[in-house]
Subunit: 352 residues, 2 copies
């Protein structure tokens, strides 16, 4: 079997990480890289900071230059957070008979907020005999799929809390700005009012994935966003919050079933949580028969986790029956420590 052929669309922090991860795996080649601006025309190896050595050159090009019919088995689309913004890219890739893995948070369960686009994506995928999946660490695993799997050992479930207490310290300037690190309370409130605080994208997706998986009908999803103000100066490699200012954002989400709050999402993100005695971790708490009280501490780092989830799901996406897939419609994610080709169904491979 030929190696698994991958195109990466978007060489930011996540896409570059996926490229580096793929270069360490057996049975898989990166055959194309797409980006814009001053990355165009450069060697992908230069952009991702890896020596090319004996590998074939990959020049960063435009979509039209890179994507031709069946030129790859899968395209990792690592460009957007929102389904509507990425839709045309997905369409273009799938119409070239190539499977898609997307890191867009909304794509982890696009039925939640984009039911019409989800239908269209499903149709385009089926028409072209390919599949499309959105995944990542969260949404994608920690606050949804991991919850779902733990309900699997429950006779019944009454209430669910998914909590992710994580550190933003490893992240770069973009995330510092997006999460309002270092701004004053007034500025935070102004940003919330003008909808320019992005915060975490994914609660409606995680809540809907859990509810649909276990058969609850969610009639309302609410979310709140509060500043995490710091008592002491906090400094991370790319962030600084003076005492009194914003060191992070605490978001909560609530899913209501028959008028009752049944699914709670609790996700405080901040720089240097250890400095103020906050223990980071991923929590799954289920009230049911039996109760589940699970914690992974410290939390799975967001960057590595998202990179790994997108790459590790490649075989499941290639092997899947055509259509829009989700983490609850495919076999479980797993690390790929052997040859990726051994995981591929020959009948489903695009590049024969």
């Amino acid at each position: 079997m030929q190696n698994v052929k991958v195109v990466i669309w978007g060489l930011g922090a996540m896409g570059s990480g996926m490229a580096r991860m793929l270069l360490n795996k057996k049975g898989v080649d990166i055959v194309g890289a797409i980006d814009i601006g001053n990355k165009l025309g450069k060697s992908m190896y230069e952009v991702i900071g890896v020596e090319r050595r004996g590998r074939a050159e990959v020049i960063v090009k435009t979509p039209e230059e890179t994507i031709t019919e069946k030129c790859a088995d899968v395209c990792l689309c690592v460009t957007d957070s929102f389904t509507s913004k990425a839709f045309d890219k997905f369409k273009f890739v799938m119409e070239n008979k190539i499977n898609v893995v997307s890191s867009a948070e909304e794509m982890a369960y696009p039925m939640a907020q984009e039911p019409e686009l989800s239908k269209k994506l499903d149709e385009i995928a089926k028409e072209n005999g390919v599949s499309i999946l959105g995944t990542g660490i969260n949404p994608g695993l920690i606050m949804d799929l991991l919850v779902v799997i733990m309900t699997g050992c429950c006779e019944s479930v009454d209430e669910i809390t998914a909590r992710r207490v994580n550190s933003l310290s490893p992240f770069g300037p973009t995330v510092m700005e997006e999460q309002g690190i270092g701004i004053s309370l007034d500025e935070f409130n102004r940003k919330v009012e003008t909808n320019s605080m992005s915060g975490h994208v994914g609660f409606p997706e995680s809540i809907s994935m859990i509810a649909d998986a276990i058969g609850w009908k969610v009639d309302k999803v609410e979310q709140t966003m509060e500043p995490i103000l710091t008592d002491v100066d906090r400094k991370s490699p790319y962030g600084f919050a003076k005492a009194g200012n914003v060191a992070g954002v605490a978001m909560k989400g609530f899913g209501y079933v028959d008028g009752k709050m049944k699914i709670e999402m609790d996700h405080p993100q901040q720089i240097e949580p250890e400095q103020v005695g906050v223990k980071t971790g991923d929590y799954v708490i289920i009230k049911g028969t039996p109760n589940i009280n699970m914690v992974n501490s410290p939390e799975v780092p967001g960057g590595i986790g998202t990179i790994a989830m997108c790459v590790n799901m490649i075989p499941q996406v290639i092997n899947s029956k055509p259509g829009l897939q989700t983490m609850i419609s495919l076999p479980v994610p797993r690390a790929i420590m052997g040859d990726m080709r051994e995981l591929i169904d020959p009948e489903r491979k695009v590049v024969k």
Copy 2:
């Protein structure tokens, strides 16, 4: 769509628990119950201790009296721990075009110890257009599938430890006897020598499932069994261990990859662990990128967990393509809080 139709083969503690769980679910009927001895001819409701109320009567009968072609969508086979002992039952059910969920520990990954029988089961399933799955709490979830899913957010994995520290106190006289609760050290050693200590069945299965999932080739599996001797008298509802005697069994398993121990299983089971300060829990510890350090405490109770896993996987087994399936080839388990029919692919349903 007609309700999902289930036959239960074996009304011991596990099978009876599955029956009771199913009676609380929507869109599913128990249409047959198989057992032996003095249960034959009795009402299933009497055997499982539930009032029949308006439900159709189900009389406990022989396999031949119960199983006819396509009489059910799935048969829960809850009779054995070993594939070879249950093989003829699986064959009989599948030749009647009925899917199988088995609680036999070896069936959680039968390729590990019964590769020939696994091939035969796969062939029989495919010939008859049905599928067969082994599952349970452990093997089936805690020390294998849960490990696999957590490797899914890892770029690479170096070493794995799965630990389940559980209490045997909720179990009845059979488990007390099987696990040697209350016997002396001499008797324990004698039983180990004569191979009459059953201990935990499932390490080769869990190790192989993990290794196959992530692409490691296991060249050797070892396991050890040690008594847990108690310093103090311990008393559970069905067990008693005098100070100095056996209060449980500590089993370990080791999977070697390229001569190195890469997968460790650690599973001490005892009555009244809290009495001696042992905190029970399920642990997934992965050394890799990133590290995973997960615990669910207290542990998922073995009985409820196995009952729930077998029932909750019914839709995945019905919907699956024909053949021998495992927990890593099917979508993740999940609780069923709605109508079970909504989870069934009409094309795959047996009883139309």
